[in-house]
Amino acid sequence: MAKRIDVSGLNAYYGSHKAIDDISMTVEPRSVTAFIGPSGCGKSTFLRTLNRMHEVTPGGRVEGKVMLDDENLYGPGVDPVSVRRTVGMVFQRPNPFPTMSIYDNVAAGVRLNGDRVRKAELDGIVEKSLKGANLWNEVKDRLNKPGAGLSGGQQQRLCIARAIAVEPQVLLMDEPCSALDPISTLAIEDLIGELKEHFTIVIVTHNMQQAARVSDRTAFFNLAGVGQPGKLVEIDDTERIFSNPSVQATEDYISGRFG
């Protein structure tokens, strides 16, 4: 059920400032696509345009097309709330709802759906999602404890469980490991490898080793200078990007010559 994303001619603005300029790319289903690039190059902004989160920021505005299979996310009559339900997101810092238990956190999105979910069914969804996020064994005995009591890495996996519980087609991850220690990072990376069997995954990362480890395809973003909009430089198979990129700037960035 994972879907293909097809972006064409996408511009995003903060007020009058153009943050990303004319991006077109295709993200394959059931694969991991990594976005890399220097700070401020617009990769996170671009990620947020893929589930219409960008327009939530004051002044945020988007032009262009994002096709999810054959539906344009920015087409007329499209409900952003349904878009975000179909395209899930995991954030840089783990953000479980502080007032909710582990169970309620995972169930939060499902409960929103409104139609009364039976308790047994909800139990099943919570268990399946926590298992899917490799967290079940660690928390199954304390599902009613607050989610904020978990370690950082566990919290992030809880957020992933919460995101996949609503059965999205695509999972966006915005530097999901940057606030975590190396062991937790490894756990998340393994998890990403498993999740791509079922979801289309897009991950923004600052860590190039991570991009090389987890992704099938890598997109390199860059900006001409401070205040300039970010651009997509190239997107290709990860192996190629890291061994033999077709653009000089990509090679410079990857070999650490700048950024």
């Binding site: 059920m1 994972a2 999810l68 539906e71 996310l73 087409g75 009559g77 499209v78 409900d79 709330v81 349904s82 878009v83 179909t86 929103l112 759906n113 409104g114 969804i125 399946k128 999602s129 298992k131 899917g132 490799n134 079940w136 064994n137 660690e138 996949i164 519980a165 059965e167 999205p168 087609q169 490894l186 756990a187 393994d190 998890l191 498993e194 999740l195 069997e197 079922h198 979801f199």
Partner: protein, 360 residues
């Protein structure tokens, strides 16, 4: 820990119950506005038709119609979740309107009715020789009273408040500081009438002094002190510690460091806080009723004999209960509001003007 393999296919694969897609039936963008107009029209219609006397009812009717109508419409077209969202949105808007109406009316009434008799004559004359039922007379004596009482109160409260805040921030450790902090909080909550009763009991009843502007000033000072302490404390805490340490490390004594480094850095914020406190006590009338007693005449001496003040004057003119005195009450209210607002605006002006300095 990541070794758990997934036996079952994950959620995304299992139940393809996703609704046809991303398109949800939505109400057109103009729907809320149209409905609001409709509700207002129907509310007015019912109001006129049923001969409801007060416009309050018309408004309430229209509001209820709008909220209910929006909910029903959204529930039909967009579904239950969206309908709840619409309900919340319309309630929030209605709250806003409910609040705006009386507040705008208050300002409007004061200006519209106050402007009638407000002129140079009104500002420069007292009520001496004016019968309350006659038009004429003015607020000069009340302005003098307010300025003197507030001035003395500020002269008492500002230094004490300032020094207390300095003590709490720069020196305060241990039990005394804790006690002071706690009681400043307590003091913030004292009703103004209680502060008035206190001064009444010890200054007038026990020490047998007469009613005077000064007695009122003492009560106002009690009300003002905690406000000054709180705001000054906040401002001093904003001064970065590095500044103090840099100065101390140069061998500058602590008291000079405070006077020459800390206070100048925070002076904008402190001034703002004091001005806001002044604005607050300038409108206080309860202690004045108990302690200053009121007067129709100009009394320039705050330490001897009854005085008036702007808030007291408004109360007195209202109590006189005739058209001429109501006009004077509104005009005085306008003068008082203008005074308080100017203080507020100046205070905020200072804050804005000095703000970048504090951040440096």
């Amino acid at each position: 820990m990541s070794g758990v393999t997934m036996n079952k296919p994950l959620v995304a694969d299992s139940a393809p119950k996703a609704p046809s897609g991303l398109h949800q039936p939505r109400l057109p963008r103009w729907a809320p506005a149209a409905l609001a107009l409709g509700a207002a029209a129907v509310g007015t219609g019912i109001g006129i038709g049923a001969g409801l006397g007060s416009h309050v009812q018309w408004g309430l009717l229209a509001a209820v119609l709008y909220v209910a109508g929006m909910f029903a419409l959204a529930a039909r077209v967009e579904g239950r979740r969206q309908a709840k969202d619409r309900l919340a949105t319309s309630l929030v808007w209605v709250c806003f309107l409910i609040a705006v109406v009386p507040l705008v009316s208050l300002v409007w009434e004061t200006i519209a009715r106050g402007i009638k008799v407000l002129d140079g004559n009104f500002l420069s004359h007292s009520m001496a020789g004016v019968l309350t039922i006659q038009p004429g007379g003015g607020v000069y004596h009340a302005i003098i009273g307010t300025l003197e009482q507030v001035g003395i109160a500020t002269a008492i409260a500002a230094p004490i408040g300032l020094l207390t805040a300095i003590y709490l921030v720069e020196y305060g450790r241990g039990r005394l500081a804790k006690a002071v902090t706690f009681f400043v909080d307590v003091m913030t909550g004292i009703p103004s009438i209680v502060a008035g009763l206190f001064v009444l009991s010890f200054w007038i009843l026990m020490m047998d002094n007469g009613y005077s502007g000064f007695a009122g000033s003492m009560a106002l000072a009690i009300l003002m002190m905690p406000v000054v302490v709180r705001s000054t404390e906040e401002m001093l805490k904003l001064v970065p510690n590095e500044l103090r340490e840099a100065s101390l490390a140069l061998g500058v004594p602590k008291w000079r460091t405070i006077l020459k480094v800390v206070l100048p850095t925070a002076i904008g914020g402190i001034a703002t806080g004091v001005m806001l406190a002044v604005a607050r006590i300038a409108g206080e009338s309860a202690p004045i009723v108990l302690l200053v007693f009121g007067s129709q005449l100009i009394n320039n001496n705050p330490f001897e004999g009854a005085q008036s003040s702007l808030p007291y004057y408004i109360y007195e003119q209202w109590a006189a209960g005739n058209e001429a005195s109501y006009d004077r009450a509104w005009a005085a209210a306008l003068v008082l509001i203008a005074f308080v607002m100017i203080l507020n605006l100046v205070a905020r002006g200072i804050a804005r003007w000095k703000a970048p300095k504090a951040g440096r």
